[in-house]
């Protein structure tokens, strides 16, 4: 570290995700308050949640508690961080249009982004000089709102949209022959009401952290670095995670008040991750560069929460197919029990309704397809009619969207009881290149 290097906070040694409570054990004891703490309502909430976890969890494996905010994840590795990483509490997601016509400038942008991301994820400033240093007559090379904040588990994950390869039939950067067959704009799904200003993009940045200001700082500085080469197309804040990607995390709730992502893929199941998340080397000739990467499906799903909240508990549970309290399937058991879709009630109807969300998306009804979901709750103010502009910013990592997302969403658009209460207002698909080695830039294999 040079003396002029700006340090937000000395990065701690990289650690495993902090030991969190065993969700099975925790569930029995928690109140709504406890859950909020575990989901992390600010740093204090996090600390409280973690402490609660230690008390409830297995003490013998628990190292001395460390503030969650000081956690750092390695930027370099086989896969990009921010996919299997235990889902952080906050999100700032951004999609960019590349505005330069020069391949060289595009590559330089990716190099600059890589360097800045490598720094910021370790709790350092975006540039080498720092937010309050350097020539007094020059603007600082970091915007400064993260001064004094730790890395907060920040991960920055980059992706490439279909239009980077080909836009209106035009091969923009000599990449058209490397556009994987699976990387095309998602089809129109029934009941889509997509806003072009919240959809698509040539590049994407997913910044996740346990502190919202850290995530926003990351996107803001990357957008600044991109000026003249890429322009911010749209961005989305997410304030609370709706999924867990690790068995160490409790299942969180979406804005419908139900547990979300109970059946999610978990990092602790590498065989399932290999089968459902990482793009294989031999998928197609054009996509060889993507080996070890993934596809990211992005959907901004608005919920008419006001209407939803007026539904009787029985209707809410019927639509989801699970109990609201525990998240157990209506066919019985507890949260992690498998639903029995055949079990009938005294009226002869299946306990898990035929249009229940859990039935339609269950792997057993979709050829075994699973996704690694990493979505966030959002509220973007209100709509002028006294209603919240709120919902789920759905993020899912898949090995192939053509088999794992598209057929399922087609089905949901047609027959899901939930579709009465949701509307898809944004959509995008990105190829997520594999991890980055020291000295390389993100997506290097695509350009070599």
């Amino acid at each position: 570290m040079t003396s002029t290097e700006y340090v937000r906070q000395q990065p701690t040694e990289t650690e495993a995700p902090s030991p969190a409570p065993d969700p099975h054990k925790e569930r029995a004891a928690v109140s709504r308050r406890g859950l909020l703490g575990a989901a992390g309502a600010g740093l204090a909430g996090l600390a409280a949640g973690a402490a609660g976890g230690f008390a409830l969890g297995s003490a013998e494996t628990t190292p001395s508690p460390q503030p969650a905010g000081t956690r750092t994840y390695p930027f370099y590795g086989e896969h990009q961080a921010g996919i299997l990483t235990p889902v952080q509490d906050r999100l700032h997601f951004a999609a960019f249009d590349v505005i330069t016509h020069s391949r060289e400038e595009l590559v330089q942008l990716l190099k600059d982004w890589t360097a800045a991301a490598a720094r910021m994820t370790q709790g350092l400033g975006a540039g080498e000089v720092g937010p309050t240093s350097g020539p007094y007559a020059a603007p600082p090379d970091d915007t400064g709102e993260a001064i004094g904040l730790p890395a907060a588990g920040l991960t920055i994950t980059f992706g490439f949209g279909p239009t980077l390869f080909r836009k209106q039939g035009k091969d923009r950067f000599g990449l058209a022959d490397r556009q994987p067959d699976a990387l095309h704009r998602l089809p129109h799904f029934p009941a889509d009401k997509l806003d072009p200003q919240r959809s698509d993009g040539d590049l994407c940045v997913q910044a996740c952290a346990d502190d919202p200001q850290v995530a926003v700082h990351a996107v803001r500085n990357l957008a600044r670095i991109a000026f003249g080469r890429a322009s911010l197309r749209w961005s989305q804040l997410g304030f609370g995670r709706t999924s867990s990607t690790s068995t160490s995390q409790a299942t969180s709730r979406n804005l419908m008040g139900f547990k979300d992502g109970t059946m999610n893929l978990k990092a602790e199941d590498p065989a399932a991750i290999d089968a459902h998340v990482w793009a294989p080397a031999d998928a197609d000739n054009k996509g060889r560069w993507l080996a070890g990467g993934s596809y990211l499906v992005v959907r901004r799903i608005n919920m008419t929460v006001e209407t939803w909240d007026r539904q009787p508990l029985s209707e809410q549970e019927r639509v989801i197919g699970r109990t609201k309290a525990e998240g157990a399937p209506l066919s019985g058991g507890s949260e992690f029990s498998q639903p029995d879709f055949h079990l009938k009630g005294n009226d002869g109807e299946p306990l898990v309704a035929t249009d229940a969300h859990v039935r339609l998306v269950h792997p057993s009804n979709n050829g075994g397809a699973k996704m690694l979901r990493r979505g966030y709750n959002f509220v973007d103010g209100s709509d002028g009619l006294g209603r919240l502009d709120a919902g789920l910013f759905f993020l899912a990592y898949v090995r192939d969207p053509r088999t794992q997302f598209i057929p399922i969403q087609m089905k949901l658009g047609l027959g899901d009881g939930l579709s009465e209460y949701v509307q898809h207002t944004g959509s995008a698909l990105f190829a997520i290149p594999p991890g980055i080695a020291q000295g390389e830039h993100v997506g290097q294999a695509l350009f070599s």
Partner: protein, 410 residues
């Protein structure tokens, strides 16, 4: 975007104030472990206690009301940082003088008590003098300082730089005076048509006359009393404030977007017109007394781009006439003139930045050219959303490197 000789750009005050707050927080609570305290006040100094000695080009200066202690009395040539901490009660300054003790090589002014400010600069091998000036007066507390040859490439001699700065100042001053003269003449022509009730003619003259104002907008705005009288928009009026100037007449000529608009009487037209002429004449009288340093010219160029980004690309400036693109073009032209004057200086110091800024100016001007119609431009309401976005992207692309110009030429 104030550019007068007397006042510094407001932004320069922002950081010290914040630093002061954080620094005092640390002092009061005595919690050196808090990252917020250590990393803010002393980036390059000694928050780990050892970095100052690790980098021979990072020096600290402990300035008090009676002392000026440097962490070293020499440094290798290259980019050297002096982190000056004012431990005294008086506001202080730090100078690096040439061997003769007269020529200023670098300076950092206005360091309030408790504040740390940095002087970052390229220095050539040779003998120098350092000085702290508690109370900002006198010769200060001086000591010899030497810079050894490190084999690094050096910039052009300071003597020729001074010549280039002088040239840039003269060119820019001439430009400002020339534009002001045109503004006076065109304003007279415009109000003549307007007073005579030749509204079509006045509407054609309005955006053209205003281009002379917009080209030197950051300079004109530095006259805090004249600017609101000449260029205030209705939306910016304070309660009770009388609305005069260009935009008052603009609304009268283009009332289509106004509700229940009461046109100005003939007498009112005369009164507002004469007021415009009088205030413009006052501007003209004051302008020749200005002169510009390199960073003022550079910050003026950046300021003009800021004007574009906040008022023109959004279509807010010319709300009634929708002639924003004339203003846009003029802001860019004015910024380009400032940049051109500094180019010889920049070429020596940062050729990559020079070519980057040059290319981005060309992109913006090409986009504007594509919106020309007849002798002028399309009105703002004829632009598609995509066209506005493209212009906005090009302005951002230019503004970002242009924001580095000032530091590169001082």
């Amino acid at each position: 975007m104030i550019m007068s000789r007397l006042s510094r750009p407001a932004g320069e005050f922002a950081m010290p104030v914040r630093t002061l707050i954080l620094a005092s927080t640390c002092a009061v609570f005595g919690m050196p472990l808090l990252a917020g305290c250590t990393d803010n006040t002393t980036n390059t100094t000694d928050n780990s206690g050892s970095t100052a000695s690790a980098n021979p080009r990072a020096l600290t200066v402990q300035a008090t009301d009676s002392e000026c202690k440097l962490s070293a009395t020499s440094a290798p040539a290259g980019t050297v940082t002096f982190a000056v901490t004012n431990g005294g009660q008086k506001v202080t300054e730090f100078y690096l003088y040439a061997e003769d003790g007269k020529r200023i090589v670098g300076e950092v002014e206005n360091i309030g008590p408790g504040i740390t400010r940095e002087l970052v600069m390229k220095v050539e091998p040779g003998s120098y003098l350092t000085a702290c000036k508690p109370g900002m007066a006198g010769d200060g507390i001086r000591a010899p300082f030497s810079v050894s040859d490190s084999g690094e490439a050096q910039q052009g001699s300071a003597g020729s730089d001074a010549e280039l700065v002088k040239q840039a100042d003269e060119n820019y001053r001439e430009y400002v005076e020339d534009q002001t003269e045109h503004l006076v003449a065109m304003t007279a022509t415009f109000v003549a048509a307007y007073k005579a009730g030749k509204d079509d003619e006045a509407r054609a003259l309005y955006p053209v006359a205003r281009m002379h104002w917009e080209r030197i907008e950051t300079v004109a705005e530095s006259f805090g009393d004249l600017d609101p009288k000449l260029d205030l928009r209705e939306a910016d009026l304070e309660p009770g404030q009388k609305w005069t100037g260009w935009h008052r007449l603009e609304k009268d000529l283009w009332p289509a977007r106004a509700k229940n608009y009461e046109p100005l009487s003939k007498a009112e037209r005369v009164a507002y017109s004469d007021d415009l002429v009088k205030n413009t004449a006052s501007l003209h009288k004051r302008v020749p007394r200005l002169d510009f340093s390199a960073d003022e010219i550079a910050n003026g160029s950046r300021g003009l781009l800021d004007e574009v980004a906040t008022g023109k690309v959004t279509g807010e400036e010319e709300y009634w006439s929708r002639t924003d693109l004339w203003d846009f073009q003029a802001n860019i032209e004015g910024a380009l003139v400032g940049f051109e004057g500094l180019r010889p200086l920049l070429r020596d110091r940062d050729p990559a930045l020079e070519s980057q800024i040059t290319a981005k100016f060309a992109t913006v001007l090409a986009l504007l050219n594509a919106q020309r119609e007849g002798d002028g431009f399309k009105t703002y309401d004829k632009l598609s959303k995509a066209e506005v976005k493209e212009l906005s992207d090009a302005v951002n692309a230019l503004s970002e490197p242009l924001s580095k110009l000032a530091a590169a030429v001082v």
